[in-house]
């Protein structure tokens, strides 16, 4: 119901405000409605039966206050199975001060820049495919890594002397500093709780830093990108009773106190706290030639945490023990898109994600303990067709063939005994119609 109220509000506000304020405030918006179906595995809730719980809508207001100062705000709501649920949020709300071409300054809620396409995640009308390659752009991260409160600096520079321009090309940079709302119910919170085999109860994020550098070398159509981001995070809850914690207990005892009887210690369903940071290192390139665009990106996530477990010495003595925890996940994709006519564009990509760089084959090591081997990877082959009815309206049809389920439980909660009921190979079909003005 809230969805329809929001849609009607978009239309009414757009009409009335456009008439009232002439051209001083620019109003734009978008609505998209999708459909998802999988042959096996619940990609989102009810996807095996087909689901329409897959939509986005946004409405933004922009105005130029002075020659240097620009204000903009965008309201956004989306639904993706259990994520979003059409809750209206502020996508961005910021004041932008343009000083020179090499420096503009933005304060407020900024969209978080990530890779070549990260900040287009909500903008279905921009990209050729419905889903961004999940190896680098996990769907589950969109609800908390999209926006950050804080500051942003950006600009671009090229040498003034033409002979150096021919050698060095052009440089663009974006530096963001702020805080993202990563609550325990968010995608990142869920993914980390899953990696830590923990029922999360609280979470808190620290100030994040994000730096992106783009270089357009003197090769027409080529753009190179490099990114580094880091944010601190604290998550706590209770350990799950599964093989992951049993094996950690056995490892710890054999290393530190081999004489202690393992039966006298419990490490399941006890308080645990994770305090540390996540780093993201990304690099990639995009090359466009006429209507053909080819891109590649690779990302590595470094999780570096201190785990404090209140180990229970039976019957009732607890002893907090802190141990380091490191896990690196990696992902990459290569993608091409081609506009064949004004109304038809198609694209394809191959995307790979490994949640544990040390266990790409699924040997049950580290975070993948107690899960089928195919939860150690996810390889997604996608073919997508986009039909543009006009500049404002498009329909996309897309098929995915997936090998592995590493990101399946990012969006849907799977109980420990349900992991072996999943299928390694599965298909996903998606359709989406979008309108923007």
């Amino acid at each position: 119901m809230k969805k329809y109220v929001f849609i009607i509000t978009i239309i009414l506000i757009s009409c009335s405000v456009s008439m009232a304020v002439d051209n001083d405030i620019h109003i734009h918006g978008f609505i998209s409605q999708g459909f998802l179906q999988t042959d096996h595995n619940q990609f989102i809730q009810n996807s095996e039966n087909g689901t329409f719980q897959f939509n986005e809508m946004g409405l933004n207001f922009n105005t130029q206050i002075t020659d240097d100062l620009h204000l903009g705000i965008q309201f956004f709501a989306s639904d993706f199975g259990d994520i979003g649920n059409d809750k209206i949020t502020v996508n961005f709300a910021r004041a932008s001060y343009y000083y020179r071409q090499w420096l503009s300054f933005h304060a407020g809620i900024n969209k978080v820049a990530f890779g070549l396409h990260g900040d287009t995640r909500d903008l279905d009308m921009i990209r050729p495919t419905i889903f961004l390659p999940s190896g680098v752009y996990p769907e589950s991260f969109r609800d908390c890594l999209n926006s950050a409160k804080g500051l942003e600096f950006r600009g671009n520079w090229r040498p003034t002397m033409p002979e150096f321009q021919d050698i060095l090309g052009e440089f663009n940079y974006t530096i963001q500093c702020g805080i993202m709302d990563i609550n325990k119910e968010s995608g990142v919170g869920r993914v980390l709780a899953k990696a830590f085999h923990t029922d999360s109860e609280y979470s808190e994020s620290d100030t994040a830093i994000n730096m992106i550098f783009n270089w357009e070398p003197p090769v027409p159509g080529l753009r190179l990108i490099g990114q580094y981001a880091k944010f601190g995070y604290n998550l706590g809850g209770k350990t799950i009773n599964d093989i992951f914690w049993q094996s950690r207990k056995e490892d710890a005892l054999s290393d530190m106190a081999p004489t202690i009887n393992p039966e006298s210690i419990s490490v399941t369903n006890i308080p645990v706290d994770y305090d540390g940071y996540i780093e993201e290192i990304l690099f990639g390139f995009e090359y466009s030639w006429q209507d053909l665009v080819f891109s590649f990106e690779h990302v590595k996530h470094i999780h570096d945490f201190d785990i404090t477990v209140d180990v229970l010495f039976l019957p009732d003595t607890t002893l907090p023990i802190t141990v380091p925890f490191e896990n690196n996940s990696v992902g990459f994709y290569y993608m091409f898109s081609y506009r064949h006519t004004d109304w038809l564009k198609f694209g394809a990509y191959y995307s790979v994600f490994y949640p544990n760089e040390e266990d790409k084959k699924g040997n049950g090591l580290g975070t993948n303990a107690g899960r089928p081997d195919y939860f150690a990877w996810q390889k997604d082959s996608c073919l997508s067709f986009r039909f543009d009815f006009n500049r404002n309206c498009s329909l996309k049809l897309e098929g995915h063939y997936l090998d592995g389920c590493a990101q399946l439980d990012d969006t849907v909660k799977i109980e420990p005994d349900e992991y072996f009921e999943t299928n390694r190979y599965w298909y996903l079909f998606a359709a989406k119609i979008s309108y923007n003005f």
């Binding site: 922009n62 130029q64 965008q74 209507d291």
Partner: protein, 151 residues
């Protein structure tokens, strides 16, 4: 556990790639060089190709005198295609997509699009700091800045 046989996806992708490579159009639209015009209050009379790229890609937002740049786009298909290809290294669809992206990430306002060139000329003449491109030399009766483009 049900295992689904892996399809011959690589073969399908290869066929698609061949279709793309052979399907890329070699037809060029009729060569129509854009003529750059601006509001009479603009100080500059010469722009480099990089200036034009920066202005139309929203990177350069102020004139040398500090006045904000008001961007207009001539929406005539052939002219727009030639302009975006020669100066921005983009197709018209990529150019429009780029500006939609700018709006929806909060980086600025959409340029004003005109399908009627006379309306575009009138708008630039009456606005402050406006720039645009047209298909022919403007009438001498119009009070406009005619930009010379250098490399």
């Amino acid at each position: 556990m049900i295992l689904v046989r892996k399809p011959h996806l690589k073969s399908f992708m290869a066929i698609l790639l061949i279709w793309v490579l052979f399907g890329i159009s070699v037809n060029e639209s009729r060569c129509q060089e854009p003529v750059f015009i601006g509001s009479p209050d603009i100080f500059e009379s010469t722009l480099t190709k990089n200036d034009i790229k920066d202005i139309f890609m929203g990177k350069k937002k102020k004139w040398a005198g500090g006045k904000a740049i008001t961007l207009t786009v001539n929406d005539q298909a052939d002219l727009q295609k030639n302009f975006t290809k020669a100066y921005l290294r983009k197709t018209p669809a990529q150019f429009i997509n780029f500006w939609k992206y700018q709006i929806f990430v909060g980086n600025g306002n959409l340029p004003k699009f005109f399908t009627d060139e006379n309306q575009l000329i009138d708008y630039i003449e009456k606005s402050e700091g406006a720039i645009g491109y047209i298909s022919t030399e403007p009438s001498k009766e119009k009070n406009l800045r005619r930009f010379t483009v250098s490399d």
